[in-house]
Symmetry: C2
DNA sequence: TGACAATCGGAACATCGTTCCGTATCTGTA
DNA sequence: TACAGATACGGAACGATGTTCCGATTGTCA
């Protein structure tokens, strides 16, 4: 609480007070940039040149730096956007599936999110201020999302209600680190196991 | 065993067959470079520019690249040199202290070695071929050194003899990862605890 | 429609890793 | 000791990359 950065660092829409309306072209650039960066980072890794992202997005380099003052800010922006996408899917799944199915489907979706974040692991702890708020952003968004799914499944009597959402998020995250050759399959099995555990937890008091 | 590099990658003196004698100035450059790099990396981190190392060593950039074809080779060279220094100290301590004291003193010396390698952790797993042989070099040198100290202490009846040297090396390494604010002190306490454990292990069969 | 401000594009700059090559130095020999 | 060839040295130069700057362009609102 001493050296805490005072910059909000919210990469999206603050919407507080009356923010001057963003110009349409600016909004388009930001979207194209985030979309292009997501693909480029997935293909060439987070070390890919900024110019490559600019080219793929069909904008000039200057535009990149107008939207994201630093290369790290661009990376952080992609991270936040993917957090948002994954969190949004929790609601979608909850509305289109039985509680326990929704929970299971989302946890597997979450492992995919984690899988794309391998390259970021070292960057997160690099001390770069652009990444400072990312762990909080991660938790503040994922924890309520998973909590909602868990509650619905618990209310339906499918699982027990004594699981800490954050513990589960961390557990799956750690599970995904050790993945070797058949990584994806291994992770899938282990997550299924966790879900089974939740079920038993519900039926056997 | 398929994609194993065939390059020896021994940064020091091969000495096999009859190697042409190295010129005196070349040897001086290599030493100055390793010494300078050690200090620069300790001060500015392993990301410090090669030019900074060259300047501190008092040589031109060309000379850096003549001795270390790649920036990563320079880092690896410093790493090996520090391994050598730490290993050499094991012998020194064994000759100047009672077995159990030597063991204790060296383990604490080893924690210092580990402490300076934080920045390398991610580089080690980066896939850079210059770092490929480092883990082996680490183990091949440290394991016998610690084994000798453990044996001497065991022969003197100070500790039990059923500790795997490599396990101990890893344990202390892992211990050092988690260090937070009072890191050094915390590590010291934990290592002392391990040593206590070794002692009890000897007196209470 | 017109004017103002926000945005854009990309040339230009600074920093890095790395390469090249003319020059300086060392070493073994006469 | 003096010489010649081999070896090493220094640093300019190159290509890549992050970042800055500014004139040209475009969107928005009256």
């Amino acid at each position: 609480m001493s050296d805490e950065t005072t910059i909000p660092a919210d990469g999206a829409k603050p919407a507080m007070t009356k923010e001057k309306r963003v110009r349409a072209d600016a909004q388009r650039s930001t979207d194209a940039l985030l979309e292009a960066a997501k693909k480029v980072f997935a293909t060439s890794g987070v070390d890919a040149p900024v110019r490559e992202v600019a080219e793929r997005a069909g904008v000039g380099i200057g535009t990149v730096y107008r939207n994201f003052p630093t290369r790290s800010d661009l990376i952080a922006g992609v991270f936040r956007r993917e957090v948002d996408a994954c969190v949004a899917e929790a609601t979608t799944l909850a509305n289109t599936h039985p509680p326990c199915d929704a929970l299971s489907l989302w946890l597997h979706r979450y492992t995919q999110f984690i899988a794309t974040k391998k390259g970021l692991a070292s960057a997160l702890h690099s001390g770069d201020p652009a990444f400072a708020t990312l762990p909080d952003y991660f938790r503040e968004n994922f924890e309520p999302a998973l909590a909602a799914l868990l509650n619905q499944a618990a209310d339906a009597g499918d699982i027990g209600g004594d699981v800490e959402p954050y513990d589960l998020l961390r557990a799956i995250g750690n599970l995904s680190v050790a993945s070797g050759a058949d990584g994806a399959a291994h992770i899938r099995r282990m997550v299924d196991l966790l879900i089974q555990g939740l079920r038993y937890n519900g039926s056997a008091p």
